[in-house]
Amino acid sequence: MTSLFDAAVTASDAGEGRIAIKLRVNGQEREVSIDPRMTLLDYLRDVLHLTGTKKGCDHGQCGACTIHINGRRMNSCLALAAAHAGDEITTIEGLGTPGRLHPMQAAFLENDAYQCGYCTSGQIMSAVALLSEPCGASDDDVREFMSGNICRCGAYPNIIRAIQQVRRDQQKDAAPQPAGA
């Protein structure tokens, strides 16, 4: 059977039923041997101890586990870690640090865009990805694009406010400077 498949992801010498793969997380390459059942979410939390990514429903319904894979947001609970060898994976830990926040993290703080905070890293990962998606300018457009992230505390109004603030700041930065300025 092995000859039919890419040897890199067939069970080899990684141990009974395990798969040896290379994964790139937050710019760092990691060589791991994992059970094929392990999701990216469990791999990030339980193996790398990157616990900023949260497990909510574990079925792709709540968005708490949102990460970026090759720059696009996805639910890490519905991704098999072993199927993502070679992909560029970014978690909330790769976005900013306490001393050097990503503008979206700073805007969430400034706008009090959370209460319990459990969904927040997923909200921020979605919000950052949204900045480069074809999302319209209105609050309704942002609500629609953020509907895959559930907040049971109901912090939605401030989440929208934080996202819109970052978008406005970005537009200001991108706007051409007036002549003579």
Binding site: L4, F5, D6, P36, M74, L78, A79, R143, E144, G148
Partner: protein
């Protein structure tokens, strides 16, 4: 989750050969192709899907979206739903398809989910997803608790006394209205299956959902060239404004000439055992003035034979109003 071998197919023949080792491509398959995983991994966690081997088909170059030489829209099997919905060709020529995809799931899911995976997504009937319940689709012969149970979301068309599950796809509804064709490759060669024939009605074997045989790999879907002057829209009615499956939805495409309907095609979602299209209902419209009476006539014909369950009788009238509203919107 039951353990499995995870293999990455090096090329299409390898994937097909691996798939052909399963006795079935339907419920109970021992080999599954993995694309976006948004349905498969979910169902594997629930124990509804228990493949012994999972074949990753994500790196087989099946993700192209382009205009084919004959003018068809070519949509690769592993093209992501987001990429399809936002593709300039789709936005310009197949508006209802773009709208249908964006009306389904969330951005995260659409970024992972694929064309073929969307077509093959399974019903959201809660009894199917719950191993503690009987379900003829999951375990043939075990019974259908939905018929006497919670069936508000389920189907009113194409059902049987063995199964009343509905097909949850939005994308497939628009593709059906646009006369899509599914292209598959198997051990014995390739074949083309019109989407209208791709899904099998449940009858007494609701575990069999599609025409696919073991090893058959969907390589791409084609949509015929857009009709000149045709306008289309997707209208989805649901319990929430976003991120919710349809109670009823419709993809409608109309061409007008001299103030009359020259051609109309439409399909329904949320109400059928499969995405639902009735040619006779489209014939009713041909040559009519685009007014409420004509639309209502077409809607009545389309819903002919609808069989309500204890909690979803409202879907019949809702579906008719959905059709009329969408036609009004697209002809105004």
């Amino acid at each position: 989750m039951q353990t499995f071998d995870l293999v990455r197919a090096s090329d299409r023949p390898a994937a097909i050969a691996a798939g052909a080792e399963s006795a079935t491509a339907q419920q109970g398959a021992s080999v599954r192709f993995l694309a976006g995983g948004t349905t498969l991994i979910d169902l594997m966690k629930l124990g509804v899907e228990r493949p012994e081997r999972v074949v990753d088909i994500n790196r087989l170059g099946l993700d192209e979206i382009r205009k084919a030489e004959n003018g068809d829209l070519f949509v690769g099997a592993t093209a992501r739903n987001s990429d399809l919905a936002h593709h300039p060709l789709v936005r310009a020529d197949y508006a209802a398809l773009s709208q249908a995809i964006l009306a389904g799931a969330s951005t995260q899911l659409r970024n992972a989910a694929t064309t073929a995976g969307n077509l093959l997504q399974r019903t959201r009937c809660m009894y199917f997803r719950d191993l503690a319940s009987a379900c003829n689709k999951r375990k043939p012969g075990s019974g259908c608790p939905a018929i006497a149970g919670a069936n508000r979301m389920l189907a009113i068309l194409g059902t049987s006394n063995a199964c009343i599950a509905n097909n949850p796809s939005d994308m497939a509804v628009a593709m059906l209205a646009y006369d899509a064709v599914v292209h598959v490759q198997g051990v014995a060669g390739g074949r083309q299956i019109p989407l209208a024939d791709f899904y099998v009605l449940p009858g007494q074997r609701p575990d069999i959902e599609t025409m696919l045989a073991p090893g058959e790999l969907i390589t791409h879907v084609t949509l015929p060239p857009p009709k000149t002057g045709e306008r289309s829209v997707y209208l989805k009615l649901r319990d929430r404004a976003s991120y919710e499956f349809a109670l009823v939805s419709t993809a409608v495409a109309v061409t007008l000439a001299d103030g009359k309907i020259a051609n109309a095609r439409f399909a329904l979602g949320g109400v059928g055992a499969r995405p639902w299209r009735v040619r006779k209902a489209e014939d009713v419209l041909r040559g009519s003035a685009p007014d409420e009476r004509a639309f209502r006539n077409a809607a009545d014909t389309c819903l002919d034979g609808a069989r309500p369950q204890s909690h979803n009788g409202f879907k019949i009238e809702l579906a008719k109003r959905c059709i009329v509203h969408a036609f009004k919107q697209v002809t105004s």
